[in-house]
């Protein structure tokens, strides 16, 4: 029954799509037009809407529209003014002054001031934000000489902060609503109040998140759209049908089946865009739980790495939307990437030899040992990756049981209960390894239950030292050297196996313009987007 009705739905939707295509005139204007509701795919449903502690992709996709940052990043990943109109860095790198924009209001009407920035830095960036803790740790004082000036005093320099100052990277929360309350338990995490171009209106669980135009937005004339409706459609084929027939006009983060991309690129009413992911540099990885009785052996981890054909994984499972990764610092983060790290070429024979050496010989039934694998439940691509890995390890005598669950249960299992052996997930590396990479290796995160931090349970004093040294190093060359040493160690000991440098894409309606206007677009605001011609909605 289910299958049948879905087929009917697909057939009907393609018929509608054909109809729309055939009678649609072409508008070509370059002056943005106001109005319309933009329907966006949100996949999967977020756990929270506040980017304070849970850095899940859907959370940031929504929050980027509600929260403005001090800056945004252009296509060269250079900071551009947003809530901060200008900033000065002292010669010694230890004093940073931000000059804030005047006349900005929170969505509840209260004025935005330097006190909000100070409070957010001291209570979120420095303490609970998984990417920023190390970067802002050495802020010794925050001074607010007036309502529109913030002065950060560092005990030691922290150069990478200039790569995280956008709305989700260094989220500024309204002090007047949060001060003195339990930040992680605040009701405002699910009905956020920001300063951004769109105001939170409603979150109907399992269905949608609705944002409305902020009429008092400081960037006059913007945003152009009246509303953004983030729709939650769990089924990938239904998402593709909704995009194809124009019901959804914007679908970021690989929201349609990868197999459909080629067909979609031929459609006149939609466009595929690979830009807007420049800031995040996504990486797919496999965490080995180093407390597991088998995976605690370095040779076993290296053997499993040799057993997985990452080229085939990129080609078959990910349809070419990604390339094999050799390091947790993606090659796109070129300054820090080390191409001389130990590599684990696909070599099942070597894998078997390593397992024999480690003392895990094949038993009478051909099995060496059995482990479990929990994959990030973000869609079929991740499940298929888990199936691919299961079969690859089966070939070398390691039996894998795949376990599936929803996102909340996944986070609890991996980062809370630590009841897993293998775990598949993805992380953003961001332009500086200090932001996105080291969180997966620094032992300081262990025991904090913070999602997407050190999943493997890895502890290495030298690695911790390198991470902390690089965080406070004022000399850029010395930082690069620290990170290259870091990569050499973590790719030898291999608590985490980098799998693929992912290539994300967005699909959007052909008449939706300026949907990608900055380098951090997909985690930022849609204030520049507008409908060409007849506005929808």
């Amino acid at each position: 029954m289910r299958t049948l009705s879905r087929r009917h739905f697909l057939a009907a939707s393609s018929a509608i799509a054909l109809f729309i295509r055939s009678d649609k005139p072409v508008w070509a204007e370059d002056k943005p037009q106001a109005g319309g509701t933009l329907s966006v795919i949100l996949q999967p449903e977020p756990v929270t809407l506040s980017p304070t502690n849970n850095m899940a992709q859907p959370t940031q996709t929504v929050a980027g529209n509600i929260f403005d940052g001090l800056v945004y990043y252009d296509f060269d990943l250079k900071p551009q003014p947003c809530l901060a109109t200008s900033w000065d860095l002292a010669r010694d790198g230890k004093t940073v002054t931000f000059h804030l924009r005047h006349g900005v209001k929170w969505h509840d009407g209260k004025p935005f001031t330097s006190a909000d920035v100070k409070w957010s830095l001291e209570n979120i960036w420095k303490t609970i934000h998984p990417r920023n803790k190390a970067l802002f740790e050495n802020v010794s004082a925050v001074e607010t000489p007036d309502d529109f000036t913030v002065v950060l005093k560092f005990s030691k320099p922290s150069l990478p902060i200039f790569s995280v100052l956008n709305g989700v990277g260094a989220p500024i929360l309204p002090r007047h609503l949060y001060e003195g309350t339990d930040i992680l338990g605040s009701p405002y995490n699910n009905k956020p109040v920001g300063t951004g171009a769109f105001v939170f209106k409603e979150w109907k669980r399992g269905e949608y998140v609705l944002l409305e135009r902020n009429p008092d937005y400081w960037d006059s004339g913007k945003p152009y759209l009246d509303r953004i409706l983030f729709r939650i459609i769990p089924d990938p084929a239904a998402r593709a049908a909704a995009v194809e027939k124009g019901e959804i006009q914007y679908a970021p983060f690989n929201a349609i089946p990868l197999r459909d991309v080629e067909r979609f690129s031929q459609l006149p009413n939609v466009k595929i865009d690979r830009r807007g992911y420049d800031w995040i540099s996504p990486l797919l990885y496999l965490d080995f739980n180093v407390e597991n009785q088998y995976l605690k052996h370095q040779r076993v981890r290296q053997a499993l790495a040799h057993a997985i054909d990452r080229n085939a994984m990129a080609r078959i499972v990910w349809f070419g939307f990604g390339k094999p990764a050799i390091s947790p610092v993606p090659s796109a983060v070129a300054t820090f990437h080390d191409s001389t790290v130990p590599q684990y070429a696909f070599d099942p024979k070597k894998a078997e030899a390593l397992l024999d050496e480690a003392g895990f010989k094949r038993g009478a039934d051909g099995t060496r040992f059995a482990i479990t694998h929990d994959y990030l439940p973000y869609g079929d691509d991740y499940r298929r990756t888990a199936e691919f890995i299961k079969q690859a390890l089966h070939k070398i005598g390691v039996e894998v049981t795949i376990r599936s669950q929803d996102t909340a249960a996944f986070i609890k299992r991996i980062y809370g209960d630590r009841d897993f052996d293998l775990s598949l997930s993805w992380n953003s590396a961001f332009p500086d390894p200090q932001i996105g990479v080291v969180r997966a290796y620094w032992s300081g995160w262990l025991g904090t239950q913070t999602p997407w931090t050190n999943g493997s349970g890895y502890r290495n004093a030298e690695v911790d030292g390198l991470i902390q040294a690089a965080a406070v190093e004022g000399n850029p060359e010395a930082r690069v050297a620290d990170f290259k040493r870091f990569q050499q160690i973590v790719l030898t000991e291999l608590p985490t196996l980098p799998l693929l440098e992912m290539q994300f894409f967005s699909v959007h309606a052909a008449n939706l313009r300026d949907i990608v206007s900055q380098g951090d677009q997909t985690y930022s605001t849609l204030k520049n987007a507008w409908f060409d011609g007849k506005a929808k909605g």
Binding site: R259, R263, I316, R384, Q391, S404
Partner: protein, 295 residues
């Protein structure tokens, strides 16, 4: 357990061996014959899965997206990871039948147990057990099993259990009604006066006489369990470590616009199995109903 009269007695008095009478009556109906043949074919697939496809059906053996009929080695083609669909269909028959039969058995044990106790003892026991049954009946069985599997994590055992413990209320009510009819019959009264224990009366005298409706509902229970497992797997709550038809449909729906056969072929297998069991159930119903026989 004694074989019940209703199952073995030949009603048309042709004098052939009574044990084959039921089969003969079944074979006389084209729809039941169809069901039997289909079911035999599916059973054969389940039995032949290992001899024909000794390797793990989840292995990636072919080029991805091999359409059916393009490569003789893979007559039904391959899916997005290059897994042989024919191997999946054969091995999937085992899993689907296993889940269907075990889940139906779980339902039968609970349903018959509650129905028989409730009908035989009546009074407070009946009232209590029927409230429990109603409680289960207020929750749609599929949503209930969905919730159980989501909480317990999908595996063959949890899926089978979840389907089994949500599908019994209808059967319990049916059995209770049948037992109520027999509770005050001469057969039962006589057994009581001979000093038989309650357990003996229920197991040896009452249940064999209500077996006909139970057999019919069992076939429907198996069919609906297969369908439930497929629906769960379709929604992503199948056991990812084994091939099941529902899981194959679920995996294939993503590519239905470009490669329709990946979801369609296992879909046809599900259709065939459920159809076969329903036809068989109908046939059994007719064959066991002697009034219908004398029409």
């Amino acid at each position: 357990m004694a074989f019940p009269d209703s199952l073995i007695l030949s009603a048309d008095g042709t004098g052939s061996h009574p044990r084959f009478a039921l089969l003969r009556r079944l074979l006389r109906r084209p729809s039941a014959l169809c069901g039997l043949v289909l079911m035999a074919a599916i059973l054969a697939m389940a039995v032949l899965a290992h001899p024909l496809y000794p390797d793990d059906p989840l292995d990636m053996v072919a080029a991805p997206f091999l359409h059916p009929g393009t490569d003789a080695a893979f007559p039904l083609g391959s899916d997005m990871l290059g897994r042989d669909l024919a191997a999946g269909i054969f091995h999937g028959a085992r899993i689907s039948l296993l889940i269907g039969v075990v889940a139906a058995l779980v339902s039968l044990v609970i349903g018959i147990g509650i129905g028989a106790l409730s009908g035989y003892y009546g009074g407070r026991i009946d009232a209590g057990l029927m409230r429990l049954t109603e409680l289960f009946q207020t929750i749609p069985p599929f949503l209930f099993s969905l919730a159980i599997v989501a909480i317990l994590q999908p595996s063959i055992a949890t899926i089978t259990g979840a389907i089994g413990i949500t599908a019994w209320p209808g059967l319990a009510r049916l059995v209770r009604a049948e037992v109520l009819k027999l509770r005050h019959s001469e057969l039962v009264e006589a057994s009581i006066s001979l000093g038989a224990s309650d357990a003996r009366i229920i197991l040896l005298h009452i249940l064999p006489n209500v077996l006909a409706p139970i057999v019919v509902s069992a076939s429907i229970l198996v069919a609906s369990a297969i369908l439930s497992e497929s629906s769960l797997a379709f929604l992503g709550l199948g056991d990812p470590n084994v091939v099941s038809w529902g899981g194959m449909v679920g995996a294939g729906r993503e590519v239905i616009r470009t490669d329709w056969y990946v979801a369609t072929i296992p879909g046809i297998a599900i259709l065939a199995a459920v159809l076969a069991l329903n036809l068989l159930g109908d046939g059994l119903n007719d064959a066991l109903n002697r009034k219908g026989q004398r029409r």
